[in-house]
Symmetry: C2
Subunit: 368 residues, 2 copies
C-alpha cells in the first residue's frame, strides 16, 4: 500500500505534523533492548553506561531493530539519566533499575547541580545521531529524546524509581522554592540537550514525562506542564518556522512528541504545550483522545503487555487502533516501552499489521 | 455541624447507599499503619503476619487511628494476601513488600491452590471483627475487606508486586484457560472470606482491585470485572434485601465498596458491578466521576502524597473535594493508602476538615 513518494522518514515527520501520509508510520519505544538476542550479545560485553557512551556500540544497538523490523523511526540508544549524570549527580545502573545514592532533598543539593554544554559533556550523543543519519538515510527518521523536567526531578529527588513518589510530593508540599528551582534548571538542561541533538541530526524529538501521570491535573498544570513547556519553548525559539516543506537541519520544523504514562486525566493540559504529537498510554482509547484534542497528532498506544501474548491478537489490536484514528495524524507505537520478555514474533506482527495500513472504509469514517 | 441522630456508623453506612447524612463520613485506607508511632511500637514486638493473626494485637492497631482521629469507619487490620496464604501459597513479607517464592505459572500450579473454610482457616479474622464491633459500638462502622480476584491473581502470578505485570499479561495472552480457572477460584475465595467477615460483624466491605487499572477497558471487562462481579453476586445472593432500614447483621444490606487505583478509564465498567460505592484514585476528579456515574456513591479521593505537605493545603483540598460532591453520596477518603512518611498533623487536618463538612451553598449546587 506504500506510495513510492513516502520514505519512512517523510512518513513519520509529516504524520507528526498531521499531514496526510500513505500509511501511519510505526516505531516502538525502547525498540532497542533486552528482548533482542543481538542486543543482549552486545550488552554482555559492555556496561549499560558504556553502551550509552560508545558511539559504535550505541549506533549498533539502535540499528538492530531497524534491520529486523524496518520501523519508520529509529530512536538513538541512550538513557534519560545521561544528562542528569552530566549535571553532576551520581547515577548507578543496578539490576533493579537506576539508583541515585545522593538524592536531592534541599536547596544546597540543587545548587550542586550544574547546567552544562552538551557539545562538550555528552559530545558522544551527537556522534551517535550523526552516525545514525548516515546509516539510515531517509529510510527512517532519527529520533532524539530526553526525560521531561518533572520526571528527571522525580529520579533526582526519590533517588531512583518510586512507587509512591513520596519524596517529590513532600517537596512539592513543603519546599516549593527548591522544587521550582530544580525544575527550572532541568528545563534549561532538557532544552540544551535536545537542541544539541537536533543540531546533531535528530529529525524529531520525544520528551518522556513518564511519571507526570502520578499528579492530579491541578498539580500537573502547576508543576510538570510549565517545566516541559519551558523546555519546548526554548527549543522552538531557535526557529519558529514549522512549515514542513521548509524543514531544514536545525531546530526549524523538528516535530516534538510529548509522552506521559497514565495520561488520560491530563490530555487537554498536555495539548496546551507546543508539542506537535501527544504520545498516550494504553488506558486512554485513541478514539477518545482524538475527540478530546481534535486535530492534534497522536502517538501510541498498544499495551506493551499485549505483545507478550499471541501474534494474531497483536495484529487484531493494531487493526483496531488504526480503525480508531483512520491512520490519520497517528504514529503507531506502544503505550510505554517494549518489555524484556517480549517474543520477537509479536514485535514482527505489530510492524506487519502497521505496514498493511488501514482499510479505505475505516479511513473514510475516522475523524481527525 | 453533626446532627445528634447520626452515629459514625450510621453516617458511613447510609452514605454508602446514597442516603442523606449530616456530613460526609470519613476514613482512610491504611489508616492503621507505619505513620503512627503507636503502630510502630506494636509492630516492633511482632512480625507482620503475627500482627494479622493475633486478635488482641490486630484489634489494638485497628483502634489506634480511631482513638486519635475518630474516623467514621474502622477497617480491621489484615492483609489482602492472608486468604492467598490460606489457599496454600507461600507468602513472605519482606522489606520490599510481599514475596511469593513459588509463583503460579501453569494449570498444575492453580490445581495446588484450594478453596478453604474461613471459619476454620482464618477464624482469627472473625474474632478481630467481633472484637472491633464490641469496642467501637456505633461510633464507627467496622469495615471488612479483601483483594479482588484480578489483584490477588497478579500477586500469585507475578510472585509479588510488579511494575509491568508481564507474567499475568503473558498468561492473559497465552493461557486463557488457566487464568480463567484461577480467577474463578479466587472469586469463590473472596466471596467466602467476605461472607465470613460479614457474619463476624463487618458492616461494610471493600474489595481492593488495586492493580486492575493496568488493564485497558476491554481487558478489564473481559477479566477483572467479571471476576469481581462474581464475588459480589455470591455475597449478595445470601440476602437480596438491601433496604438499609431493614439492615441486619448478615449479608443483608451490607454495603460493598469497589476500589481500583488508576480507574479513570474504567469507571463506567466498574459501575456495571453491583458495588454500592466506587472508590476512586486522585487522578479522576470527583466532579467528573459524579457526572459519569450519576447517583452512584463515590469514595475518595485525596492524593496520599498531598498528606506529606502542609496541613493548611490538606484542608483546602478536602474542602475542594466536598465542593465537588456537595458531600452527598460521598465518603471522604484518600485515593490510595496512607504513606508511611505521612506527618500526623496532616491526617488530623484531613479529619478536621471532613468534620466541618460542606457549606450550604456548595451542598445546594452540587449534582448527585
Amino acid at each position: 500500500m506504500s506510495t513510492p513518494g513516502f520514505s519512512g522518514s517523510r512518513r513519520l515527520l509529516e504524520a507528526c505534523l498531521g499531514l496526510p501520509v500513505d500509511r501511519p508510520p510505526a516505531w516502538m519505544m525502547r525498540q532497542a533492548g533486552r528482548y533482542l538476542p543481538e542486543y543482549r550479545e552486545v550488552r554482555s560485553r559492555a556496561s549499560f553506561f558504556d553502551l550509552c557512551r560508545t558511539p559504535d556500540l550505541a549506533i549498533e544497538v539502535s540499528l538492530q531493530p531497524f534491520r529486523r523490523f524496518a520501523p519508520d523511526g529509529v530512536i538513538f540508544f541512550s538513557d534519560i539519566l545521561v544528562p542528569v549524570q552530566a549535571m553532576g549527580a551520581r547515577v548507578e545502573f543496578g539490576e533493579g533499575g537506576p539508583e541515585l545514592p545522593e538524592p536531592v532533598r534541599c536547596a544546597s543539593d540543587v545548587a550542586r547541580l550544574r547546567r552544562f554544554d552538551p557539545s562538550r559533556e555528552v559530545a558522544y550523543t551527537g556522534e551517535i545521531l550523526r552516525g545514525l543519519r548516515r546509516e539510515v538515510g531517509d529510510r527512517a527518521a532519527v529520533i532524539g529524546f530526553a526525560g521531561a523536567p518533572w520526571t528527571l526531578a522525580s529520579y533526582l529527588i526519590e533517588g531512583g524509581g518510586s512507587k509512591s513518589f513520596a519524596a517529590i510530593k513532600q517537596m512539592m508540599g513543603r519546599d516549593r522554592t527548591t522544587l521550582s528551582r530544580l525544575l527550572d534548571l532541568l528545563a534549561d538542561v532538557v532544552a540544551d540537550v535536545l537542541s544539541f541533538q537536533i543540531e546533531s541530526g535528530a529529525q524529531a524529538v520525544q520528551i518522556f514525562d513518564t511519571w507526570a501521570g502520578e499528579l492530579t491535573e491541578e498539580d500537573y498544570r502547576e508543576w510538570a506542564l510549565p517545566a516541559a513547556s519551558r523546555a519546548i519553548a526554548a527549543i522552538r525559539q531557535a526557529s519558529p518556522n514549522r512549515d514542513p516543506l521548509a524543514r531544514g537541519e536545525g531546530a526549524e520544523g523538528v516535530p516534538m512528541i510529548l509522552f506521559v504514562n497514565v495520561c488520560g486525566h491530563l490530555l487537554e493540559a498536555m495539548a496546551e504545550s507546543a508539542a506537535d504529537v501527544l504520545s498516550i498510554d494504553w488506558r486512554l482509547p485513541l478514539s477518545q483522545a482524538r475527540r478530546r484534542v481534535p486535530g492534534r497528532a497522536l502517538q501510541g498506544n498498544l499495551d506493551p503487555g499485549a505483545l507478550l501474548g499471541d501474534p494474531e491478537d497483536v495484529r487484531r489490536r493494531v487493526r483496531a487502533m488504526l480503525a480508531e484514528t483512520g491512520g490519520r495524524a497517528h504514529i503507531l507505537n506502544l503505550g510505554h516501552g517494549v518489555l524484556p520478555q517480549t517474543p520477537i514474533e509479536c514485535v514482527e506482527a505489530f510492524f506487519e499489521a502497521a505496514r498493511s495500513g488501514v482499510g479505505e472504509a475505516a479511513a473514510a469514517e475516522a475523524p481527525v
